[in-house]
Amino acid sequence: MSDSVHTVRVQIPYHLRNLARVEGEFALEVSEPVTIRAVLDALEARYPMLCGTIREHDTLKRRAFLRFFACEEDLSHESPDTLLPDAIASGREPFLIIGAIAGGC
């Protein structure tokens, strides 16, 4: 593997795992720079059925009730071009996409 490609561990919510037909955590190959956008691009390229479910089509805006966490930090309001911590880029920690705990019926 080239030095410019990183293996990033990713966790996504239950319903999206069902949609993508994956179980538990999985790994993605992400080219440098390892940003939120780069991880989501790689995720949608690998699992196109998730397009539009995490960020909106065209605008690529994060869906309101989904949050992005890395190394116990909430990055949801950071720029998509924010560099992710080394622990994410090196695969020591997973990048978490989490459904907001928002009650409902």
Partner: protein, 393 residues
């Protein structure tokens, strides 16, 4: 012997109820898409094995699903199911509902009236209703919130707005009902392929006679007490519209309050509430064999969305309205405080017309004899959002 397949969308998944023509013994399958809101599902009249589904979530937005085997297996149009885990490109667009604001084909993305009277930009929220073409199994229409109509000609893989409706000059006067500004009814005219009827809460009913390029409001005769101008062209809270395909110029409407009919394709409406105990409600449908036999489920009021006196009742008119009879046999006699939502009634096409409806309490009722006798097929589903029925030869 013919079979029937009842497609039930609920707050927490989809279910399919199947029976033979007697409609006495039922098989129940599901939940499909467990945990997701299924606003509507409907089969193609051309190919009944093709079924389309609107699947939504407050977290993950809109998805669109289809089946080519009558609901045994499902796929997202555009996803290569043979190797779903492998990298694929281009991205799936079966859930891409983007208003067409292009200079070439679209209409400017304008505003509509918000609850407080201010103007609010159009924002896509979900698909309320899917309507497969009467002639092509790969063509399907979608009615969405905020109100607009989309069309796919490739089995749901790609969607294009028909922007003439949203771009109608009255758009800034449209406003959301309590459930949102949804386009909830799409009726395709079986005798005129260029004619489509739609209805929006709370804008009213519209019709195109040129395949969707232009639309006209068809609300003349509707009276809504909350509208200062009683002759307003738009602003009426139409809950549902129904047609018997043999008589496409005759339409029946359950408005917020008032049950209405039109015999000139919506150009003029007259009230037919007659002796109904209350004319508030959501559903309305027409017997498939008797075009003057109409069904409604009266709901107490717009403040109390449940049946009168805790008794669930269907009312039937065999005279096209005004004279209504109470249908009670097999329905709850007391302590019933459910609602029946606007897309949750359907009729089959068998000789003795079957009538079906679902409740927010999770029951789906069937009458195999045009309303005389009722029976619950299921009692304990999640809240039912929609009911459609396929009659399969």
């Amino acid at each position: 012997m013919s079979k029937v397949r009842v497609l039930v969308g609920t707050r927490k998944g989809a279910f399919i109820l199947s029976s033979d023509g007697k409609r006495d013994n039922w098989d129940v399958s599901g939940p499909f898409f467990a945990g997701w809101e299924i606003y509507h599902m409907k089969g193609s009249p051309v190919n009944p094995e093709r079924v389309y589904v609107s699947q939504t979530s407050g977290w993950f937005g809109q998805l669109f699903q289809a089946s080519d085997d009558g609901g045994k297996t499902w796929y997202q149009p555009g996803v290569k199911t043979e190797n779903a885990g492998a990298p694929q490109w281009p991205p799936v667009k079966s859930n891409r509902f983007v208003y067409d604001a292009s200079n070439e084909t679209g209409k400017p993305l304008t505003t509509h009236q918000w609850y407080d009277g201010t103007q609010h930009p159009w924002e896509f929220k979900r698909v309320w209703h899917v309507e497969p073409s009467l002639t092509d199994p790969n063509t399907v229409y979608a009615g969405v919130e905020d109100a607009a109509i989309f069309r796919s000609t490739d089995g749901g893989a790609n969607w294009s707005e028909m922007p003439g409706l949203r771009g109608h000059g009255t758009g800034p006067q449209w406003q959301p009902g309590a459930g949102g500004m949804c386009l909830h009814t799409i009726i395709l005219d079986p005798k005129n392929p260029d004619r489509i009827f739609i209805a929006i809460s709370a804008a009213g009913a519209f019709r195109t006679d040129d395949g969707g390029k232009t639309w006209k409001p068809i609300n003349k005769g509707l009276r809504s007490q909350f509208i200062p101008d009683q002759d307003a062209e738009v602003g009426h809270c139409v809950h549902h519209v129904a047609m018997n395909p043999d008589r496409p110029n005759t339409l029946f409407m359950q408005k917020h309050w008032d049950v209405m009919r039109s015999d000139d394709a919506g150009d003029n409406w007259t009230e037919i509430s007659g002796n109904l105990p209350t004319d508030f409600g959501f559903v309305i449908d027409v017997n498939s064999n008797e075009p003057e036999t109409v069904y409604v489920v009266p709901i107490k009021s717009d403040s109390e969305h449940f049946p009168l006196d805790g008794k669930l009742r269907v009312y039937r008119s065999k005279s096209g309205g005004n004279e209504w009879e109470e249908l009670a046999k097999g329905l709850p006699e007391k302590d019933c405080y459910v609602n029946v939502l606007r897309d949750a009634m359907a009729v089959d096409k068998l000789d003795k017309c079957g009538v079906y409806f679902g409740t927010t309490g999770g029951q789906v009722y069937v009458s195999p004899d045009g309303g005389d006798n009722w029976k619950a097929i299921v009692h304990d589903l999640p809240a039912v959002l929609s009911v459609e029925v396929q009659t399969i030869p």
